[in-house]
Amino acid sequence: MADTLLYAKTHEWVKVKGNIATIGISDYAQGELGDIVFVEMPEVDDEFESQNSLGSIESVKTVTEFYAPISGTVVEINEALEDTPENINEDPFGEGWILKLKISDETELEELMGSSDYKFYLKELHEEED
């Protein structure tokens, strides 16, 4: 797990550089989905409020939406995912990044979890299941 990232309860990660947030889904999330076959992306310049659906990720047997961890405007999408969606499975925190948002409200970052909190959150999730 990448320690310097922030996480949402819906399993997206956020990496902040200046006023730009790079967003992807966590290793746990990609593992739950299985082999990813397609990512449906928003378009550049689309605006989102935090917790809005940004798009969807399909594996063979399931589909899940992914959400904006913070509010912002899309400035770049990872076009490579169009041909190689498996990058999300193979390198969720690197090549598997999904899109970049221009942050509109930095205070929202405070709502997100750090990596140790996220690890604890995952552990709790598992206990509930059993």
Binding site: V37, F38, E40, S56, E58, S59, V60, K61, T62, V63, E65
Partner: protein, 447 residues
């Protein structure tokens, strides 16, 4: 008679195994007052008796009428091989091919159907079938409007099959889609000036063009329509009769975004309206927006080329209330019939079929013109055309008594202002003998 093989001894053994006294104990969750209700049904029949009953019903129909009628259901010859193959248990008693390992027959056949629909239409991708031409068009409109989320108007000309329009209205009820009807010009084609001057253009997401249209006419203003759709970034939905396509211009020469239609002419009997088979073909960029089943090519673990239902994450059983269509069962056996039909006719046969239909329709037209009918519209038609004469309704009625159905009266088919206009159809089955009978009957009824 029934189809449950249980002997009394079997039932006894099974009931014992379940430690119950009788089968009705298995239904103890049902309110006793409601259990085993009175049901008023006719007495059961043997197979032999059922056959006689059904034959009696079939014989009450006038299926041997000479029928110069199309209007969405066409009298084409069905090659014997089509019945032979679709009558094989392996095809007709299998379920949807969920288990690819034991369903390659259906899966490869559907893949071939999809590919031949693409070859015919000139589009890049096709699904595995829809219920019929009407629902295929309705679902095409929903696909197109979902692509243009900021728009809520679909333009539908007045020359589209009126039953399709009714189905469209039912499908879009409750959705944010509005239909605006485009008037037709004196040639029976859509009024291009209406499009050019349409005020609410910013709200328009899609335009539907039926080609040939309900009156049988080929659309000749395609260049202007393409310009209109491209300038305004509108989805163009074509509704076509597949048997015209070997001869008439299609995609990619015509910039259709979606091509849809009724494939009944490809090996389906008229069968009082169904089962028929709709198809939807589109550009590859809209592949994941297609409703319904799609078969794709892949490999098995040993590297054999094989086929599988794919892109299922679009569909209702995975996406549930986020799916864009609810379609589950489609018309797979009809797709099988269409695949066999297209395979056996092949390139040459498919062209001949189109040519003969064009030819026969012109022969029929000549006869009718000779007998005092006029063509309602001047233009290029395929195998249907509209004729007019001042007592056409009366003639139509009298011919029926002589066992000839000379098309349909358009007045009865939602075209209220088209009194004494008949929509006529000829196909490769329209024989010289039947043409002669028609001529003779016309002489008798018009005197």
């Amino acid at each position: 008679m029934g189809f449950y093989p249980h002997s009394a001894d079997d039932v006894r053994k099974m009931v014992e195994k379940l430690r119950i006294n009788n089968v009705d104990e298995l239904f103890s969750s049902i309110n006793k007052k409601k259990l085993n209700p009175e049901i008023n049904l006719p007495e059961p029949l043997t197979e032999n008796e059922a056959f006689e009953e059904l034959k009696k019903l079939a014989n009450m129909n006038f299926s041997d009428m000479i029928c110069f009628t199309g209007a969405g259901s066409y009298d084409h010859y069905v090659p014997a091989i089509v019945d032979e193959i679709s009558g094989r248990s392996e095809f007709y008693t299998a379920y949807t091919p969920y288990q690819a390992e034991v369903s390659q027959g259906t899966l490869q056949t559907i893949y071939e159907f999809q590919s031949m629909i693409c070859a015919l239409t000139g589009m890049e991708v096709s699904n595995a079938s829809m219920y019929d031409g009407a629902s295929a068009l309705a679902e095409s409109i929903i696909v197109a409007m979902n692509q243009k989320k900021k728009s809520n108007i679909v333009l539908i000309p007045e020359n589209i099959n009126p039953d399709y329009v009714k189905v469209i209205y039912t499908y879009i009820a409750g959705l944010d889609i509005n239909v605006v009807r485009v008037p037709i010009n004196k040639n029976g084609l859509l009024d291009i000036n209406f499009l050019k001057n349409y005020q609410n253009i910013g709200q328009v997401g899609a335009l539907v063009v039926q080609n040939p249209n309900f009156f049988g006419l080929m659309e000749t203003q395609i260049d202007e329509i393409i310009k209109f759709k491209q300038e305004n970034s509108i989805m163009l939905i074509g509704v076509v009769n597949p048997i015209t396509l070997p001869v008439f211009k299609t995609a990619p020469d015509i910039d259709y975004d979606i091509l849809t239609g009724e494939a009944q002419p490809l090996g389906m009997y008229r069968s009082f309206g169904g089962p028929y088979i709709g198809f939807i073909a589109t550009k590859e960029k809209y592949l994941r927006k297609l409703p319904g089943r799609i078969v794709g090519m892949t490999d098995d673990t040993e590297g054999n080329r094989c086929f599988v239902l794919t892109l299922q994450a679009r569909e209702q059983h995975i996406r549930r209330d986020k799916a864009t269509s609810n379609i589950c069962s489609n018309q797979a056996l009809c797709a099988t019939r269409a695949a066999v039909f297209m395979s056996v006719l092949g390139k040459q046969g498919m062209k001949e079929l189109a040519f003969v239909n064009i030819q026969k329709a012109r022969e029929l037209m000549e006869i009718l013109l000779k007998k005092g009918f006029e063509l309602k519209y001047n233009g290029t038609f395929f195998n249907e055309f509209v004729v007019y004469c001042k007592n056409a309704a009366d003639i139509h009625e009298k011919l029926l008594k002589k066992g000839i159905m000379l098309g349909i009266k358009l007045e009865d088919s939602s075209f209220l202002n088209m009194k004494d206009c008949l929509l006529i159809c000829a196909t490769e089955k329209s024989s010289l003998k039947n043409f002669e009978k028609l001529e003779k009957a016309l002489d008798e009824v018009t005197i």
